[in-house]
C-alpha cells in the first residue's frame, strides 16, 4: 500500500476511533442519566402511593396486616420494603443497608411529607405522618445496577448534568487523550521504525560493513519505505561489487608490479655472486633503484588506498600519543647516526578514531623527513597539544626540526604529489609522495596537515586530528580488532 494512503487511512481511523470513543462516552453517561430519570418518574409516585397505603394499613388493620402487605413486595426479586418508626426502628426488625439507614436519618430530621430519592443506589424513601401525627419513613430499596457498570459509569458520568468542568470531565478528557495517544504512537512507530532501520543500515555501509542489507520485515511493507529499502539493497549490492573489485584491482596491481621486483632482487643477488669486482658499484646502484621503485609503488598504492577509502579499515580507537612515541623511538634510533635526537613532549592519552596503521605511516613520513633535514647534532622536537575548547577537541602534533628550512614560497607546494622544489637536494630518499600521503591520511580522518618555517630557524609540520569524544559508547571498543576481524579483513582484502 502506498505510504500516503497508509498515513491517510491511519489518521482517518484514528479520528474515527477517537470521535467514536467521545460519542460512546457521551451516550453512556447520557443514557445513564436518562435511565435514572425514567426510573425516578416511574417509581416516585408509586412509592408515594405505597407509603400512604402502608401507613393506612398500619393504623387501621395493625402490624400483622401490614406485614402481609409488605410481604407481597418481597415477591418481586430484589425489591425490599422497609418501614421505620419515629425512633428510627424498623417496624419488623429487618436490617437495612447503610445507604438506606443514611437516607432514613436524613428524612427523620425533616418535617412533613417528604420524598427522598437516591437514584444511584435505587432507593426511594418517603416520610409520612399518620393520623395521630406520628412520623414514619417508608423505604423501597430496588435492585441496584451491577457494581462494575455502576462504578464505571459513576466515574465517567458523575456530575454530568452540572455542565461545569469537573473531575469527571477531566477523566473523560484523559480517556480521549489516551486513546488518541495510543493510535498516534502506533502510527508514528509504523512510519519511523523502518526509517530507523534504513538509517542504521546506511551507517553500517558507511563504516564499510558492505554486506549490510535491509531485511524482509521492511521490504514486505509494500509502501514507499519498502521501495526505498529495495533501492537501498540495490545500491549496497553495487557498492559492495565496486569496492570488492577495487580491492582486487589494487591487490592485483600490487602483486603484478612487485612480482618482477621480487624476481629482480633475487636475480641481483645471484648476479652479485658471479660478478667481477668492478661490477659491484653498479649492482649497488641497481639495488638502490630497485628499492626506490618499490617504495614508490608502495606509496602510490597507499595513496590509491587512502583515496578510495579501502585502506581506512579497520577503524579503531587508539592513543595517538602512544603511536607518536613508537615512531619517535624508531626515528631516534635512526637519528643517532647523525648525533640527532628525537624528543617527544606534551599531552598524553590522546584517543582518536581511525586506521591506526595509516596514521602511524603518515606521522612516520613527517618525523623521518624532519630527521633527514635536521642539522647534525640538533634535536627533532615533537610536541603534542590537546585543544579541548571545542567539543570534540583536537590533538595537534608539532614536528619541528632545526635544519635549513624551506624557501617561503614553496612551502604550500610541499604537500603536492611529486613536487620538486627549485632547491630540492635531488631528494635522494624521498619519492615526493610522503607529505602528500600524510595530508590525505589526515584529511580523510577529519584532520589537517600544514607546514611552515619555524621561528628561529628550522621547519615545523603541524598535524591535527579530531579527538574521540570522551565517554562515548565507542570508547569501549577502544581495542585492536580481534583476530577474527583481522582475518575477515585480510580475506576481503585479497
Amino acid at each position: 500500500m502506498r505510504l500516503h494512503i497508509k498515513v491517510f487511512l491511519w489518521f482517518w481511523l484514528g479520528v474515527v476511533v477517537v470521535s467514536g470513543t467521545l460519542i460512546g462516552l457521551t451516550e453512556l453517561t447520557h443514557s445513564r442519566v436518562q435511565d435514572d430519570r425514567l426510573w425516578r418518574e416511574k417509581y416516585g409516585p408509586r412509592v408515594d402511593l405505597w407509603a400512604r397505603q402502608e401507613t393506612h394499613i398500619l393504623r387501621t388493620e395493625g402490624p400483622a396486616a401490614l406485614e402481609a402487605y409488605v410481604g407481597s413486595f418481597q415477591a418481586d426479586p430484589g425489591v425490599t420494603n422497609f418501614m421505620f418508626d419515629a425512633s428510627g426502628r424498623e417496624v419488623f426488625n429487618r436490617t437495612a443497608s447503610p445507604p438506606v439507614l443514611k437516607m432514613v436519618d436524613g428524612l427523620m430530621q425533616s418535617s412533613g411529607w417528604t420524598q427522598g430519592v437516591d437514584a444511584a443506589e435505587r432507593i426511594i424513601a418517603e416520610r409520612v405522618i399518620d393520623a395521630k401525627g406520628n412520623p414514619y419513613v417508608v423505604v423501597v430499596d430496588f435492585p441496584a445496577p451491577s457494581v462494575l457498570s455502576r462504578s464505571l459509569v459513576d466515574l465517567l458520568a458523575a456530575d454530568f448534568s452540572d455542565g461545569r468542568p469537573t473531575r469527571a470531565s477531566l477523566l473523560r478528557l484523559t480517556v480521549v487523550v489516551g486513546v488518541a495517544g495510543i493510535f498516534c504512537f502506533v502510527l508514528a512507530r509504523h512510519i519511523a521504525a523502518p526509517i530507523d532501520r534504513l538509517r542504521s543500515a546506511t551507517k553500517k555501509i558507511a563504516h564499510q560493513q558492505l554486506q549490510t542489507r535491509i531485511d524482509r520485515g521492511v521490504l514486505n511493507r509494500g509502501d514507499e519505505i519498502a521501495a526505498l529499502g529495495r533501492d537501498f539493497n540495490g545500491m549496497a549490492d553495487r557498492i559492495e561489487t565496486l569496492v570488492t573489485a577495487q580491492r582486487h584491482l589494487l591487490a592485483d596491481v600490487s602483486h603484478a608490479l612487485r612480482s618482477p621486483l621480487a624476481r629482480l632482487n633475487v636475480a641481483l643477488g645471484l648476479a652479485r655472486r658471479h660478478s667481477a669486482p668492478g661490477a659491484r658499484e653498479h649492482l649497488d646502484r641497481i639495488e638502490l633503484e630497485t628499492e626506490r621503485l618499490n617504495t614508490l609503488i608502495g606509496q602510490l598504492l597507499t595513496m590509491a588506498r587512502v583515496d578510495s577509502g579501502i585502506g581506512l579499515e579497520p577503524r579503531v580507537v587508539f592513543d595517538v600519543a602512544a603511536i607518536v612515541d613508537e615512531v619517535a623511538m624508531d626515528a631516534d634510533y635512526e637519528a643517532r647516526a647523525r648525533r640527532c635526537v628525537v624528543e617527544v613532549s606534551g599531552a598524553r592519552n590522546c584517543m582518536v578514531s581511525g586506521a591506526a596503521d595509516m596514521i602511524r605511516g603518515a606521522i612516520e613520513n613527517v618525523v623521518r623527513n624532519a630527521v633527514r633535514h635536521a642539522a647534525d647534532g640538533t634535536p627533532v622536537e615533537i610536541f603534542l597539544e590537546r585543544r579541548d575548547e571545542k567539543m570534540p577537541g583536537t590533538v595537534v602534533i608539532n614536528v619541528r626540526d632545526h635544519g635549513a628550512g624551506v624557501p617561503e614560497k614553496i612551502v604550500p607546494s610541499l604537500f603536492v604529489p611529486f613536487y620538486r622544489g627549485p632547491h630540492a637536494d635531488n631528494n635522494q630518499n624521498g619519492t615526493g609522495l610522503g607529505l602528500a600521503i600524510t595530508r590525505r591520511v589526515f584529511e580523510v580522518h577529519g584532520g589537517t596537515a600544514t607546514a611552515a618555517n619555524a621561528e628561529g630557524g628550522g621547519f615545523v609540520v603541524v598535524l591535527e586530528l579530531p579527538l574521540q569524544a570522551q565517554g562515548g559508547a565507542d570508547q569501549s571498543e577502544a581495542v585492536r580488532p580481534t583476530i577474527e576481524e583481522q582475518g575477515k579483513n585480510a580475506i576481503t582484502a585479497a
Binding site: A251, S254, H255, R258, S259, L261, A262, R263, L264, N265, V266, A267, L268, G269, L270, R273, E287, T290, N294, G298, L301, T302, P314, D325, E326, A328, M329, D330, A331, D332, Y333, E334, D357, G361, E364, R480, I483, Q486, G487, N489, A490, I491, A493, A494
Partner: protein, 238 residues
Amino acid sequence: MTRHLLVVDDDAELCQLLSEYLMPEGYDVEAVHNGTEGVERALSGDHALVVLDVMLPDVRGFEVLRQLRARSRMPVLMLTARGNEQDRILGLEMGADDYLAKPFNPRELSARIEAILRRSGDRRTVDARAGELAVDDVTMNKASRMVRRGPEPLDLTTVEFDLLEALLRAAGRVIPRDELVRTVLNRPFSPFDRSIDTHVSNLRRKLGPGADGLDRIKSVRGIGYQYTLRHAPRGVEK
C-alpha cells in the same frame, strides 16, 4: 649438510631463482605453486622450514598456515605484501615464526631462514639441559617447551616462547627493544620494523593480566619491555 626447504609461491620463476640462490647456502628447495599442495607437502615432514607466500591462487597463505599449525609446529616464514601491516600482524598471530615483505633482499631471506632454523634447532639441544623457569604463576619448562599459567598450559609459538624466556630471565629489568630483536629474532634491529612489538602484544594477550590486573609485560617508553615482578624468580635453571 643440506637442509630441505619448501617454498609455497605461485610465482614459478621466482621459485626457480630462489632455488638457485639458496643452493650454494646449503638449502635444497622444493617449490609448490598452490596452497592445497602446499599444506600437503608441508605436512609430509620432509622439510626443515616453509617459506609461505600470502598471495596464492587457490587458498590464502593464512589458510595454509592455519591448516599447518593445526597439525604441526614446523617453522614458517611468511612472505607478505609490503605495506600491509594487517597481513604481518595476522601472520605472526597465527603462529608464523617470522615474515618478510615482498619484494625482499635474498640475503635477508637466507639470514632469516638461518635464524629461524637456529632457533628451532636449539630446541633439540636444549632438551639435554632441561630446566624450569618460574616467575609468579608462570612456569616454563625448557625441556618440554611447555608454558603454564597456574595449572593452565599456554599455547605459544616458538618466537613467543623464546621472547617469554628472555623476559622471564630478566624479570624486573627492562630489556631494550633492539636487544630483544637481536637475541630473540636473531637479526639486527632495524627501526620501523614492528614485529617484536607484535610478538610482545601476542604474548601479552596469551598470558592475560597479572594477579593485580595489570599487564605482566610493561612497555617502557623509549626503551623497551619489562616483565613486571611481584616475587623473585623461584626456579633456577640447572
